[in-house]
Symmetry: C2
Subunit: 342 residues, 2 copies
Amino acid sequence: MSKPRSRRGGGRPTLADVARKAGVGAITVSRALREPGRVSEDLRRQIQAAVDELGYVPDPNARALASARAEVFGVLVPSLTNNVFAEVVRGIYDSLSDSPFRIQIGNTHYSGLEEERLLQVFGSQRPAALIVAGIDQTPGARRLLENAGCPVVQVMETGPDPVDMMVGFSHFDGGRTAAGHLLQAGYRKIGFIGARMDPRSQRRLAGYRAAMEAAGLFDPRLITTTPVPSSVTLGRELFRDALAKMPTLDGVFCNNDDIALGVLFECHRASIDVPKQIGIVGFNDLDMMQVSFPSITSVRTHRYEIGTRAVALALAAIAGNPPEQRIVDLGFELMRRESTAR
Amino acid sequence: MSKPRSRRGGGRPTLADVARKAGVGAITVSRALREPGRVSEDLRRQIQAAVDELGYVPDPNARALASARAEVFGVLVPSLTNNVFAEVVRGIYDSLSDSPFRIQIGNTHYSGLEEERLLQVFGSQRPAALIVAGIDQTPGARRLLENAGCPVVQVMETGPDPVDMMVGFSHFDGGRTAAGHLLQAGYRKIGFIGARMDPRSQRRLAGYRAAMEAAGLFDPRLITTTPVPSSVTLGRELFRDALAKMPTLDGVFCNNDDIALGVLFECHRASIDVPKQIGIVGFNDLDMMQVSFPSITSVRTHRYEIGTRAVALALAAIAGNPPEQRIVDLGFELMRRESTAR
DNA sequence: TTGTATGCGTTATCAA
DNA sequence: TTGATAACGCATACAA
């Protein structure tokens, strides 16, 4: 003759059930779970026992509705399979695994419009924080971020005008450093090979160009790019194009490591000696760069750490301690290897 | 002298606001948004106008609370950076991008306990569907899946006893096919090199072993494995170990393509001719397998499609049309290339 | 086809 | 330190 359960509901224990069993008010249970310090030792223990016995798990939806804030980190990246973003996301996950925060990822497919749409969707949940890749949001997306009412971290790049906070590095400097290294190693006809050409790639290209111009060696015919998504296969093809266009090429700065690997394989196939005839530099420094034969010089970026730092900044802001330094530049590191050692 | 807004709330327009503006009941607005067919043409237009004017966006939390079902797909994978799972996840995202469903990914780090914990967390949201990688759930995890009260799809593998539905292929057959191909190509001392050695790797190994035993060529010393996460670097090291242990090795079936690439690079470095001295077969067929020099034979798996099919199954079940065939075997395809063509 | 009353499980407010 | 009460924004059940 137990009192009839409410007609809806999945029969899962609720806060009220726990409260009844522990002989306290519902709100006290709620507090015991969220701010244990504000509940007396005794009650806390009774409540914990009741929670364990009933197997109570808070309903995040009810919690979000009542508190007008969901314990969710919204994360927007342009690609799920690009290792670069996957590493950032992994850093975010690892940093949040012991927190109550859930993570919601959105795939923008490198589209500003899609980013805007997802921001709209994410915003409707009143997330605890928003982490977005890049600094080139559309005006609409930027407005949504500014009005999100939560900490916002732009990642992957640094720039002059953060919505709120930023963690990344200068892609322009990265590109300039890569080209500068090839120059220093004695290469002269240094090409730029790039796929996808998103804003970050464009800035790396700009850095390359700056270095080449400073050396008085810039030539637009040295540049070979395509908006097509990057792949090892594409790297090979673009390199062939570049060589056809400019047979005297003696070095290439590749937009990323996939392209660089494609170039290396084509050199093998065409019996082009690396680094004697052609020097190769990649970008990001994936694991395989150090193992390939010859090993490939690359610009190491700190993707995983970008994720962890972004979370740290957001968490601090949520806790009411917004960081002094709103822009965190994690830099990069040139890894010199056999592919440019002639 | 507008009536005082409720004391909480973020000031965002609600269903009631839209209803007032459109001059209808709140429930009618709710219906117009979810089941437009059940609302008269006229009202629908008025309501749409009010929605647009107010910029109303439904609150998913309130919706979930009221309907006891969140429009969320829970997805559990063992790794975020492993391209194999990233592709599956991408397929899931693309299939759900035009639906109201959100996606929540959990990273189990190849841990059954972590999987169980995440299932607990995910379950508390009453998700619309659950997609989990693998078929080796712990008893606890399995119970949680069975009691989730929503469609469940196990992906990556097929097996005899689905919790609900399955999409994948036989890793045992994949391993046997790979080894069989090397055998057929005339290789005899065929090694198995594997890292991570999760349940799927184990089954590929079992398939390899079956093929070798059938040929009367099995020798435990041919096997070189490690629980360490896979990488190209590791592939190189394991291959060296394998060679040291068994100098007469003339072929290797690699657990995955990263390992295979590491093996290839080591062959280059040690001037071992591929495919003459050593035949190489990888697994998954990443893009780079077809570009490398020599190109590498690999077992192509349909990761992206696994994701899309899993969503299709779940969506059908949600719509009340559970599929006849609860187990979908997408198979695999052996891609013969230069690395085994002697 | 449309509306009314009520409940979903939790937290904010305010009082004790 | 604890509790009663009233939201939070929406959907279900049922009636009209």
